[in-house]
Amino acid sequence: MDHYVNHYVVVAIFLVLGILLPVVALTVGRWLRPHKPTDPKRSTYESGNEPVGEGQVKFNIRYYLFALMFVIFDVETVFLYPWAVAYNKLGLFVLVEMFIFAGMLLVGLLYAWKKRVLKWN
C-alpha cells in the first residue's frame, strides 16, 4: 500500500473507460445504423394506440413516507460503518451506546408500522 495514489488512478481509469465505452459504441453505431425518422416512429409508445395526454403526469407517489424512513436509516448506516470497522478497538460501552441508538430508530420503525405507514394502500 505504499503507492496509494495508484489505486485511485485505477479507479479514475475505470471511470474513464466506463464513459468511453458508451461514447465510442454509440458513435460507431451512428455510422452503421440507418436514420430515417418519420412522424409515427417518433410518437410515444402506448400499446399501439394514439397516446392520451402527457407521459410525465403528476401522480400520487405512495411511498414518500418510505422515502423519509430511507433517509433516516441511511444515516444510521453512516454511523454503523465506522463503528463496525473500529469495533475491535472499542469497549462494551460503545456497543451499549450503539444499541441505544439503533433501538431508538427501531422504536421509530415500530411506530411507523403501527401507524400503518408501511402499509401500501
Binding site: H3, N6, H7, Y8, V9, V10, V11, I13, F14, L15, L17, G18, I19, L21, P22, V23, A25, G29, R30, L32, R33, P34, H35, K36, P37, D39, K41, R42, S43, T44, Y45, E46, S47, E54, G55, V57, Y63, F66, A67, M69, F70, F73, D74, T77, L80, Y81, A84, V85, A86, Y87, N88, L92, L95, M98, F99, A102, L109, W113, L118, W120
Partner: protein, 337 residues
Amino acid sequence: MGAWLDEPLSWGNALVLFLWAAVFLLIVLGFVTYAIYYERKVIGWMQLRVGPNRVGPLGLLQTVADIFKLLIKEDTIPRKADRLLFILAPALAFIPSFAVLAVIPYSEKLYFADLNVGLLYYAALSGITTLAIVLGGWASNNKYALLGGMRSAAQMISYEVPLVISIVGVILLSGSLNLKDIVTAQDGGWFWHWNLFPQIIGFVVFFIAAVSELNRTPFDLPEAESELIAGYHVEYSGFRFAFFMLAEYVYVYAIAALTTVLFLGGWHAPAPFLDFVPGIIWFLLKFAFVVFSLFWIRATFPRVRIDQLMSLGWKVLLPVAIANVFLTALWLELFVK
C-alpha cells in the same frame, strides 16, 4: 496487477494500468455475452426447452448476433422525450456498473484497486444506477416508463438499507472495509471459516436484497414485461437499450464477485488439502455458482407484487439485518474479545 500498483506513478505505468483495465473491460463484455447465452440456455432447460441453438455451433453466436442487430438498428428518440436526459440515462446506468468492479480482488496478486474504503465505494456507486433508471423513465415521457422508473426508486429505497446493513456483520468480523482484508480474514483452511456460516443471517438478507438491487426476477418490477411492457426502457431502442441491458448484466458480474468476496471466502480453498489448486480457480468456481443461482432464481420464482416487495423490505429484512448486526457484535464481545 499487484506489482504494477507498487511502483511509483508515471505516464508509462498509467498507460499499462489503462491497458490492463481495457483488457478487463473486454473480458467483462465477453462475460456478459456468454452470461446472456447461458442464462437463456439454463432457463430453457429448466422449462424443458432447448434454448438458443441455431446461430453458430450450439447457438454460441446467438448473443453476438443479437448485439450486432442492436448496433445496426435505427435509434428512435420520441418527439416528446427530454432529449438530453434520454441520451444521458443509459450511459449513466452503465458507468457505475463498470466502475464498481475496480475494487474486486480475484486472488492474492490479481486485483485492480486495493482501496481501504472498497466496500463503501461499491455501495455508494451502485446506487447511482437507480438514478439513471429513474432518469430514463422520466425522460421518455411515457406512462409505462415513468411507472417503471418510480417503481425502481421505491425498490431502491426499500432494499438499499437492508443490503448495506447486512454487510455490517462482515465488517465487524474482519474489522475492515477493504475487500482484500475481508477475504484474508476468512482464511482458516476450512470452508466453515468463510463468512457464510457465522454470517448466515446476513448472507440471506444480503442475497435477497442483492437480487432486488439487480432488478431481477422475482423483483423485476421496474421492467415487468407483463404489466409495464418493458418499464423504464420501453422507449429505448438499438444500442441505448443495449446499455441498460449491459449495465444489468455487469451488475450480475459485480454482485456475484462481491458475494464471493464477502461470504464465500474469495480465493480460499474449501479444505486445506485442496490448496494446490490456484486461488483464482476457486474464485471462478464460486463466482460461477453464484451466477448460476441468480439464473436459477429467475427461472423458479414468480414476480412479487409491489406492496409485498415493500413490506418484505421494511418489515422483515430491515429488522433481521439490524438484529444480525447486534448478534454479531454481542458474539464478538462475549466469545472473541
